[in-house]
Amino acid sequence: MEVKYQKTKGLTDKKLSYCPGCTHGIVHKLVGETLEELGMIGDAIGVASVGCSVFSYEFFNCDMQQAPHGRACAEATGIKRVRPDNIVFTYQGDGDLASIGIAETIHAANRGENITVIFINNAIYGMTGGQMAPTTLIGQRTTTSQDGRNQVLTGSPIKISEIFSQIDGVAYLERVSVTNPKQLIKAKKAIKKAFTYQKEKRGFTLIEVLSTCPVNWGMTPVDALKWVESNMVPVFPLGVFKDAGEKNV
């Protein structure tokens, strides 16, 4: 019998630890497929962060390092500088990247570190139980903003792609979502482009993926996907924010 579909070799056989309906699994699959399709599994070194994806070192089927909270881009810098021919990527959530690790991330971008960052933006701290993230929307209820995020007290959702689009060292930057097959295909294309740019030593690449957290949002998985489209996309518009362009051959 002909095999029509099988799990990507870019992921291990370990059962994912993510909650039902969470889109981490989908993004893992897209990254795993990308590594496989680009023939990068054997050269890849991933950096897991702190948060829900802390165990991603068990899922990506390549060498992995596990970073302290927020420090993934610093750790990736260390790896890439001493192993410039390997493919180095980080997988970070919004608390890790946009809050505690924004300095490490911005400066890695500004140095044009030739690494790929997969940034999961789900507008909340998932692992620790649904606290407010720097990307939490105004009015969004979390366990530390129980009446909804108050702009006066806590500011506005931080827009990483918009900020990073201003940085010279960034070669490719796109915000995608994974709410439907069409978006999924776009997301995969973006991730593939980022890794390809890295292979071509073009500089820093970052893909921001709008993601869901049904458990901490208090929604069904389907409602969560709808909420991304209706509430998150207006604040975090999708699209390519920076593209250094196809490589001149």
Binding site: M64, Q66, A67, G78
Partner: protein, 355 residues
């Protein structure tokens, strides 16, 4: 032998190159800036890696990444900067990676000052990072000894897969001294770095650099394994020197610059007919506890001398196990005592003990 005159910080950088350093990651802070300055030029010229990080926090995590990928890595900083690195140091120790950290101590607490100090003994030997981990800590007293230890530290770190901290005060960093770089280093067997994340194309299986063990049974086992290693380090890497210990009336315990000052004081006291010996710990962790068993009978007391308010004093008391009267003399804030002060301190201590 060919002597050259060199500033301590610069000598540290040269010794690191001789020790085979592949990569340096650091952030500027006084009084250690000549180390990154020198390495920025010479590492890049040799096709190796130098990155001035955005912070000490980032720098130590770059060290973590590069060490995990199998490189010989180092960073250097001074007191408040080493404080910032504690998080990464704990991860590196937990993930059992080798690296060399140079700490050029200045006065504290807080921003403190920029003058020489030994007030980071606790920071070095007890650490500010979380968990049951240990750094191998060496505290040389001259620039020559600093060079010799630097050269060997990379091997020691690789052998045990553990960070080595080279602890000097700002005086060693800032002064210039005649040194000889050609002194041979003890040869060690360095096992292959089969743990390094170099890509699965380059080794069997997947390599994972990690300090997370959510299962308490596993985490306890990991800790027991670390303790086994620390015991091995205690057995093999404890370093100290005994000075004028044939028949002393009193014994000084001092390390680093303070031990040099005490050497001069001991000479002066000898001229006055007062015999004073010295235990000079070279490794602060593991601490040379056994040296205290070698103190000859008839010694009336031990004076611990530090450029701190009394931090190594704890280890002196632990090691002496109550066998002797113990006194303390310390200066802080960048105040470096002259030998005459130590002579007076011994005499005052003598009066106190005799009473």
């Amino acid at each position: 032998m060919a002597k050259v005159l060199m500033k301590g910080n610069e000598a540290i950088a040269v010794a690191a190159l001789k020790g085979g350093v592949d990569a340096f990651f650091g952030y500027p802070i006084t009084p250690q800036n000549e180390i990154p300055e020198y390495l920025s030029k010479h590492l890049l010229a040799a096709g190796k890696v130098f990155v001035q990080a955005e912070s000490e926090v980032a720098a130590i995590n770059m060290v973590y990444g590069a060490a995990g990928a199998g490189a010989r890595v180092m960073t250097s900083s001074s007191s408040p900067g080493i404080a910032l690195k504690q998080e990464g140091i704990s991860y590196i120790a937990g993930a059992e990676l080798p690296c060399v950290i140079v700490s050029v101590m200045r006065g504290g607490p807080g921003l403190g000052g920029i003058q020489p100090s030994q007030a980071d003994y606790y920071q070095a030997t007890r650490g500010g990072g979380n968990g049951d981990y240990q750094l191998i800590v060496y505290a040389p007293e001259t620039i020559q000894e600093t060079i010799d230890i630097m050269k060997e530290s990379f091997d020691i770190a690789d052998y045990y897969r553990n960070p080595v901290l080279v602890l000097v005060d700002g005086l060693i960093g800032q002064m210039m001294e005649t040194v000889d770089f050609e002194k041979p280093v003890k040869k060690r067997f360095i096992p292959a770095k089969d743990y390094a994340t170099t890509g699965t194309a380059n080794h069997p299986g997947r390599n994972i650099v990690n300090s997370l063990f959510l299962d308490p049974v596993e985490l306890e086992q990991h800790n027991l394994q670390l303790q086994k290693k620390y015991q091995q380090i205690k057995n093999n890497e404890t370093k100290y020197e005994m000075i004028n210990m044939e028949n002393p009336e009193y014994v000084i315990v001092a390390y680093g610059t303070m031990s040099r000052i005490c050497r001069s004081a001991i000479e002066s006291l000898k001229e006055e007919g007062i015999e004073v010996g010295m235990i000079r710990p070279i490794s602060l962790w593991p601490y040379p506890k056994a040296a205290f068993n070698e103190i000859p009978s008839g010694v009336k007391g031990i004076l611990c001398a530090e450029m701190s308010m009394g931090q190594m004093l704890d280890d002196v008391m632990i090691s002496d196990k109550g066998r002797h009267e113990i006194g303390f003399y310390g200066r802080v804030g960048g105040m470096v005592p002259e030998p005459e002060e130590i002579v007076d301190a011994i005499k005052n201590f003598k009066d106190k003990v005799v009473k």
